[in-house]
């Protein structure tokens, strides 16, 4: 989930979720960054409405199965 947390951190900070930014955040956290995963994350999130996903979470914190990220 580190990659997801990094994306949400950036999003919450009002920054763009770019490869560069995600990599910088992960590096700062001491994570050994895999470029392909960062690229996959950024590409995948292009089509995801983060705001909407977050508000879903705020409304109903229900049990959810974590999937690999």
């Amino acid at each position: 989930m580190e990659y997801i947390y990094a994306a949400l951190l950036l999003h919450n900070a009002g920054k763009d979720v770019t490869e560069e930014n995600v990599t910088a955040v992960l590096n700062a956290a001491g994570v050994e960054v895999q470029d392909a995963r960062v690229k996959a994350l950024v590409a995948a999130l292009e089509d995801v409405n983060i705001e909407e996903a977050i508000s879903k979470a705020a409304v109903a914190p229900v049990a959810a199965a974590p999937a690999a990220a």
Partner: protein
């Protein structure tokens, strides 16, 4: 680096140059497998990709030459160019390209010996066939064909081949006659070189839904952590207050602390307890008065 081409004939040199240009002029170059795709299908796919991606077919040796001449990390694409490969050039990102190629897949008739990509189901209903040997041919492969009203009809829906099973010659022939095209045919992206990185299909087949779900999960976790560890943020402080208030009310009611804000809750509890005992007593022969029954 011209080392590789100096002995090549002119037309091959031109091919290699064209490939190199294609790679240099696009942000992404991919290796696709063309095996088993008929020419007509290739034309269709090219049409579908027009404006987005270009497919360049060339001999593997020439592709190898071109990649080696460019050198560097792009040359590692060679490891993925096997069988009947072609190159694909695009300025899309590899995930988009992967999806695009998935979408350009078309259905084709099955050849004997191929594996069913999904259950092959023949629906019941009339066919266009006139009575003849076709009935026997269909029946032979387990398709319940019959003659009805001067036409051949499938009596009931039947799964002829299960997903993952090999399609034998007789079945393949029957399927062709029925016009069933169970095979997915299209360009299969074996590897993509994009921004100094090689992407393989396992990385490319991303499911946005999984990412979206993980975003929701992460947001929930952050929310939970903030509330449970009492780290107030603008987003969560209301929930934290709510939790504190609920806890205070619980304590107040449990301990029967008579305070204005919760005395009604305590009354409610007493009332419910009274009703519970009243009903229990009624079950043992105590007649309830009208007010209680209300």
């Amino acid at each position: 680096m011209a080392l590789y081409t100096h002995h090549l004939p002119r037309w091959k040199k031109d091919e290699v140059e064209e490939i190199k240009r294609g790679i240099e002029e696009h942000t992404l170059v991919g290796v696709v497998d063309m095996y088993g795709i008929p020419a007509s299908q290739v034309q269709q796919i090219r049409r579908n990709l027009r404006g987005t991606a270009r497919v360049k077919m060339a001999r593997n040796t020439l592709i190898e030459h071109a990649l080696n001449e460019l050198g560097g990390s792009v040359a590692t694409l060679n490891d993925h160019a096997e069988g009947q490969s072609a190159l694909i050039f695009t300025n899309e990102n590899p995930f988009k390209l992967f999806k695009l190629l998935e979408k350009t897949k078309t259905k084709m008739a099955a050849k004997p010996g191929e594996t069913a990509p999904e259950d092959i189901v023949i629906p019941k209903g009339p066919t266009s066939f006139k009575p003849g040997p076709i009935v026997g041919e269909l029946q032979q492969v387990g398709i319940p064909a019959a003659i009805e009203g001067g036409k051949v009809k499938i009596r009931e829906t039947k799964t002829v081949v299960k997903k993952g099973e090999v399609i034998n010659k007789k079945v393949a022939e029957a399927l062709v006659k029925l016009g069933v095209k169970p095979m997915d045919v299209g360009l299969i992206l074996q590897a993509a070189y994009y921004r100094e990185t090689i992407f393989t299909p396992d990385l490319l087949a991303i499911d946005e839904e999984v990412y979206a779900n993980n975003i929701v999960l992460a947001a929930q976790q952050a929310f939970n952590l903030s509330v449970n560890a009492v780290i107030p943020t603008r987003l969560t402080v209301a929930a934290i207050i709510g939790k504190a208030v609920s806890e205070a009310r619980n304590v107040g009611v449990e301990a029967s602390i008579y305070e204005k804000d919760i005395v009604d809750l305590i009354i409610g509890r007493a009332q419910r307890e009274m009703l519970a005992v009243a009903l229990a007593a009624q079950g043992r022969g105590f007649e309830l008065d009208e007010a209680t029954l209300k």
